[in-house]
């Protein structure tokens, strides 16, 4: 079945998104949305980018990476140096940050992706820490004090369209030949290899794509919060991103987006109790793993058909004799 680009569902979704964009823009301009909501809205967008980008590696390809914050750090520092020290425009800085992170992903990925399972996890964690320590030791980018006074270029236009673009690109990657190859690797590496999938190549591709968008998120983050420090991108940050992906369901973009939104809102409520927030996060993670290891969405995605089915089920319709064995 060939999919239409201008199909009704796609147009409907585009319209909804544009309406959301326009309304929010008006709200920001008119001051209906105050700074507190704006901050959380921007955080949600950054977290969505981070979550779906990690989902490419952990969810789609099934390679367990827990050093994602390292790539975010490269994007943040790379782009901040471009705008602050070298005077480049923001757009160029975003590209440099993201490409820099992708290159790092490539360099990290080629040797480590030969490892499997928990060895890979530990190696990515190690690389994440190494990236942090290297940044910590570069005086040019401020060492432990970090970079301060980064111009606030990240605005609603940039962040909205980049978030949408990220989700679109990753969604289309997922349903492409390459994405299917990645999913095959997740399902069974040996079987995929037997069927002719070049597993190392696809693992590296997935890793590089994930790193690219993490770098993008880092660049947006740096140009919204004025200041970045190496400690911002420690293991804790990687853990946060991991929770989004695991809670939403490894392999489900919808799940990642929903849990990024939900957890960002939750942590906004728990802002004053930072320690309690971590307790709740970690308990959530343990309970989800014990009760529903596939995450909230599993590998399912949002679709209009799914919504229609759900509606039918909830409203009691569609209970024909054919699909209700309990009655029949």
């Amino acid at each position: 079945m060939k999919k239409m680009f201008f199909s009704l569902p796609n147009l409907l979704m585009a319209l909804l998104l544009l309406a959301f964009y326009g309304l929010t823009y008006a709200g920001l301009e008119q001051g209906w949305i105050d700074d507190y909501y704006k901050l959380n809205l921007f955080l949600i967008c950054i977290n969505i980018i981070l979550a779906v980008s990690l989902n490419v590696i952990n969810g789609m390809t099934g390679q367990f990476s827990i050093g994602h914050a390292g790539f975010m750090a490269i994007g943040a520092y790379g782009s901040a140096v471009m705008t602050m020290k070298l005077g480049f425009p923001f757009g160029a800085a975003l590209i440099v940050g993201a490409v820099g992170a992708a290159l790092a992903g490539l360099i990290v990925g080629i040797p480590t992706l030969r490892l499997k399972g928990d060895y890979l996890a530990i190696a990515t964690l190690g690389f994440g820490e190494i990236i942090r320590v290297i940044i910590l030791n570069i005086e040019y980018v401020g060492g432990a004090a970090g970079l301060n006074g980064i111009a606030q270029y990240t605005n609603w236009h940039w962040i909205f369209f980049l978030t949408v673009a990220t989700v679109l690109v990753i969604k289309n990657f997922m349903t492409s030949t390459h994405g299917r190859a990645c999913i095959a690797i997740r399902e069974n590496e040996i079987a995929a290899e037997t069927m002719g999938v070049d597993i190392t190549r696809y693992k590296v591709i997935a890793f590089t794509i994930g790193a690219f968008f993490a770098g993008l998120a880092g660049a947006l983050h740096a140009h919204y919060f004025y200041t970045i420090q190496p400690t911002t991108f420690g293991f804790m940050k990687s853990f946060d991103i991991l929770v989004f992906v695991v809670l939403g369901g490894l392999g489900s973009l919808t799940g990642s987006i929903l849990s990024a939104i939900g957890l960002t809102v939750l942590s906004a409520f728990l802002q004053d109790y930072a320690e309690l927030r971590m307790v709740i996060y970690s308990l959530l993670l343990i309970i989800v793993m014990l009760v529903r290891p596939q995450g909230l969405m599993g590998t399912a995605e949002f679709s209009y058909r799914g919504v229609a089915k759900l509606y039918d089920r909830l409203s009691g319709k569609g209970r024909g004799p054919g699909n209700d064995t309990a009655v029949g």
């Binding site: 099934g62 367990f64 827990i66 040797p111 480590t112 030969r114 490892l115 399972g117 928990d118 060895y119 996890a121 530990i122 190696a123 964690l125 190690g126 690389f127 820490e129 190494i130 320590v133 290297i134 910590l136 030791n137 040996i190 293991f235 853990f239 991991l242 695991v246 490894l250 320690e275 309690l276 971590m278 307790v279 996060y281 970690s282 308990l283 959530l284 993670l285 343990i286 793993m289 014990l290 290891p293």
Partner: protein
């Protein structure tokens, strides 16, 4: 040359701590193939129990024993509540749970005792021994750490190789199903492994408290990760490997601090890990096991 020997001694005492933690990692990995991320935090809890006991006026040895017992129980509880149900689950699910347990212990620690650094009571008045006309200094605390570590290591070797439970542990780690068929209670054996590993981590926690005089709820993260590095370097699942790996990692770190910059210390440990994983994933003492399809 003085710098070298001085850092060697500092490194051996730091490495003893890593070795004690690494033993728990390696035993648990050997028996249920789980990287117990929460292990570093058990070490933190051990340090706090030791802290509590010594501020109550207990001596060093009773505090050490209390902390080991408390953490042995804690380790078994963690295994029963969080890991046991996941024994047949994919390894990644267990790993994520372990990370969750680790953060749970840390954040609960922060809630319970506050994030601030506590000063460990001075159990041993520091005595410095000057060797070679004062060129090299060894403190009595360093000696205590090394002696306690070696004694615990010998005790562990005895338990693993000479007792019934040790035999059961070796059998389960070799082949859990076959061990079960031979009438070994796998669940109890796994519990015992967690208990022993956690007790060793607790000992390391108390020793660190005595050595550095400062503890905080996040103290377990880095040493935990590095002890894991040590376990991998020595060959995960191999008990003497963890010991040698821990000591060598400690020495390497001390030398990097002594000759280079201490800021690079953490990166060196992870670089070592990655090199080992790529060149010889089975570690220095491990044997290559072929993956079964």
């Amino acid at each position: 040359m003085e710098v070298f020997f001085q850092q060697l001694i500092n490194g051996l005492s730091l490495g003893s701590i890593y070795a004690l933690i690494a033993l728990g990692y390696t035993m648990v990995y050997g028996i249920i193939r789980l990287i117990n991320f929460a292990h570093g935090d058990v070490y933190m809890v051990g340090a706090y129990v030791g802290f509590w006991a010594t501020t109550q006026g207990w001596g060093f040895l009773p505090a050490l024993l209390l902390s080991m017992v408390v953490c042995a129980v804690l380790g078994m509880v963690i295994e029963r509540l969080a890991y046991k149900r996941l024994r047949e689950a994919p390894r990644i699910a267990v790993l994520i749970t372990a990370i969750g347990v680790s953060f749970f212990l840390e954040s609960t620690g922060v809630l319970a005792v506050g994030a601030k650094v506590r000063t460990f009571p001075n159990v041993f008045p520091e005595v410095k021994f000057q060797l070679f006309n004062g060129a090299i200094v060894v403190t009595n605390r360093q000696l205590v750490i090394m002696v306690v570590t070696v004694l615990l290591m010998l005790l562990l070797q005895y338990i693993v190789h000479r007792t019934k439970i040790g035999k059961a542990m070796r059998a389960v780690s070799h082949d859990a199903q076959a061990a079960m068929l031979m009438g070994i209670n796998v669940n109890n054996t796994v519990s015992a492994t967690f208990a022993i590993g956690s007790a060793l981590a607790a000992a390391a926690g108390v020793l660190v408290g005595v050595y550095y005089n400062a503890i905080n709820p996040y103290m377990g993260i880095m040493p935990g990760l590095k002890a894991f590095v040590a376990a991998v370097v020595g060959g995960i699942g191999v008990i003497p490997g963890a010991f040698v790996g821990g000591l060598s990692l400690g020495v390497i770190e001390a030398l990097v601090s002594g000759y280079g910059s201490s800021l690079w210390r953490d990166a060196v440990a992870f670089a070592l890990l990655i090199i080992i994983l790529i060149v010889k994933p089975s570690g220095l003492f491990g044997s290559n096991a072929r993956e079964k399809v």
